[in-house]
């Protein structure tokens, strides 16, 4: 069982992360850390440097200054397991559902036996066992996104980054998938950073929320969400937090 005390070890440390494109300063001196097994949400107004932030965090793009440490070592995709769930479903149309989920482990060169066991376990956990031999264009968009989530969890990531994965889906479906995500996170004890534009979604899934400012992006505030799960969307305490975060970034 996970201890909910504040004494968890810091898994990810981000120190003075700065990124500029030429003269344009996008990320301005961002520092924070993520505890082991924590579920952290990051919200910001539309047009804040969200994409750049994720790109640097995932080490796809080198920062101009500052560094990212995983377990005290500089983050490196070859050494650490960093998973990324993109906004649009990223399934390879020429691979079956099963092969898509296995892709990450294949690239990470998991031992065959272990990979197979884990694949079975994850497919069961996400409820994809029945459709494992279908191709992505035979399943719905929400299923494709679940495949991507399953693939990301499968590699036992040190850090799982999610970029608004459920943005374009029906509300009811989104609630279901968010519940599923929380279930997966608990079962696999992963460290998750979840970036979204949707404040309600952020409050619903996260233990802690970082609020970003407009460009040049800084961390504007940090909000703890100490609500028991499963959370209710009409619980006054929940609505209170949602309102507070909304006021922090409201531009509309």
């Amino acid at each position: 069982m996970k201890k909910m005390s504040g004494k968890r070890k810091a898994k990810i440390e981000v120190e003075q992360l700065t990124k500029s494109f030429g003269d344009l300063l996008v990320l301005n001196d961002i520092s924070f850390d993520v505890k082991e097994g924590e579920f952290l949400s990051i919200v910001g107004p539309t047009g804040c440097g969200k994409t750049t932030f994720l790109n640097t965090l995932s080490t796809l793009m080198p920062p101009t200054r500052g560094r990212i440490l995983i377990d005290g070592e500089p983050a490196d995709p070859k050494k650490h397991n960093i998973s990324f769930v993109f906004q649009e479903p990223t399934c390879m149309p020429w691979r079956t559902v099963k092969e898509n989920v296995a892709y990450g482990m294949e690239t990470k060169k998991f031992p065959k036996k272990k990979a197979e066991e884990r694949l079975k376990y994850i497919l069961g956990l996400v409820g994809l066992t029945d459709t494992e031999n279908l191709y992505p264009n035979q399943v719905s968009a929400s299923m494709e996104q679940r495949i991507a989530v399953a693939r990301a969890f499968a590699v036992d990531p040190d850090l799982l980054l999610m970029d608004e994965p459920y943005g374009q889906l029906d509300v009811k479906l989104r609630y279901y998938l968010e519940d599923e995500l929380v279930r997966l996170w608990k079962a696999l004890n992963a460290t998750v950073v979840f970036v979204t534009h949707n404040i309600e979604e952020a409050v619903y899934v996260a233990e802690r929320i970082l609020v970003l400012s407009n460009k040049p992006t800084k961390i504007k505030a940090e909000v703890r969400v100490d609500l028991p799960r499963p959370r209710s969307l009409i619980d006054p305490a929940f609505v209170e937090i949602r309102k507070r975060v909304t006021e922090l970034i409201r531009w509309w």
């Binding site: 494109f21 030429g22 994409t51 796809l60 993109f86 906004q87 649009e88």
Partner: protein, 288 residues
């Protein structure tokens, strides 16, 4: 050069990668070795070097001329006349044929393709005959053309018309056919009739495809005019090449090819420029 296709606006992670490329990074040897301009230089140097070497070693016997010999030959051609025409005269002879043939084909084929796409009865009548004629390569018509028109200008222009007709028509047809049907709905909802649909949506939306067709036609036209000139002509770039062959002078053949490549390339640029001017709204897709 290539540009990535613009997709619908998602704030995808891929959107910002482009900017990264333009960033200035410090000089390093490996980056210099992988630099495009450097590689282009290496490639061209190697190409001309090997060409020169092949000539030097006589691997292909007398069948090739060194690059410098070719340049010298072009210079010579530009300063004297062959068969009563200077190099410019021959270039113009070929270009003139293309302009006439290409214009005739475009004027007939583009409207015909548009009408075929808009009216299924016309389509039902024309398409089967078109499909019968389509698989015949333009060269196959050369003999017919000579039988019908002799070996003078008309036969060459005929070949060009035949060769450019097919791509012009096909592209105009596909351009109209592939229009997003909902764009027509917009016009209908705004109270437009069939005429408005065609004028406001059909033509402008098919414009890029029609231009693509012209672009393909143009390169077909060069092939056609060349083969017609190779078979029988008294002027034109093909004539220079065939003269070179008959006189066993590879330098002259190569000079003809080089000039031809240059002129063909220039005409392509012209069409591309024209398109950029006429459709400023067109987005660039991946192309080579």
């Amino acid at each position: 050069m290539t540009t990535p296709a613009t997709t619908t606006a998602t704030s995808s992670i891929a959107n910002e990668i482009q900017k990264q490329v333009s960033e200035k990074r410090p000089f390093s040897l490996s980056r210099f070795l992988k630099d495009r301009r450097f590689l282009y230089c290496v490639s061209l140097t190697a190409f001309f070097g090997i060409w020169k070497y092949i000539d030097y070693t006589q691997v292909l016997g007398n069948g090739i001329a060194a690059p410098d010999a070719v340049v010298a030959q072009i210079w010579k051609l530009a300063n004297k006349t062959i068969a009563g025409k200077s190099l410019w005269g021959h270039i113009w002879a070929s270009t003139y044929r293309i302009i006439i043939g290409f214009s005739i084909a475009a004027v007939i084929a583009v409207p015909l393709g548009v009408i075929m796409a808009l009216n299924r009865y016309v389509n039902a009548i024309v398409k089967p005959v078109f499909d019968l004629i389509k698989p015949m390569p333009p060269f196959a018509w050369i003999s017919c053309a000579i039988l019908w028109f002799g070996i003078d200008e008309p036969s060459k222009i005929f070949i060009i018309v035949v060769g450019t007709f097919v791509p012009c028509l096909l592209n105009a047809y596909m351009g109209i056919r592939l229009i997003e049907p909902q764009l027509y709905d917009v016009i209908r909802m705004l109270g437009g009739n069939r005429k408005d649909e065609i004028l406001q949506v059909g033509f402008p939306a098919a414009f890029p495809a029609i231009f693509a067709g012209l672009q393909i036609s143009l390169s077909c036209a060069w092939t056609c005019v060349l083969s017609a000139e190779l078979v029988s002509a008294r002027s034109g770039l093909g004539f220079i090449i065939i003269q070179g062959m008959q006189l066993s002078r590879p330098a002259m053949v190569l000079a003809g090819m080089v000039v031809l490549a240059f002129v063909a390339w220039a005409t392509t640029l012209l069409i591309t420029g024209l398109e950029k001017k006429l459709c400023p709204w067109k987005r660039e897709a991946v192309q080579m």
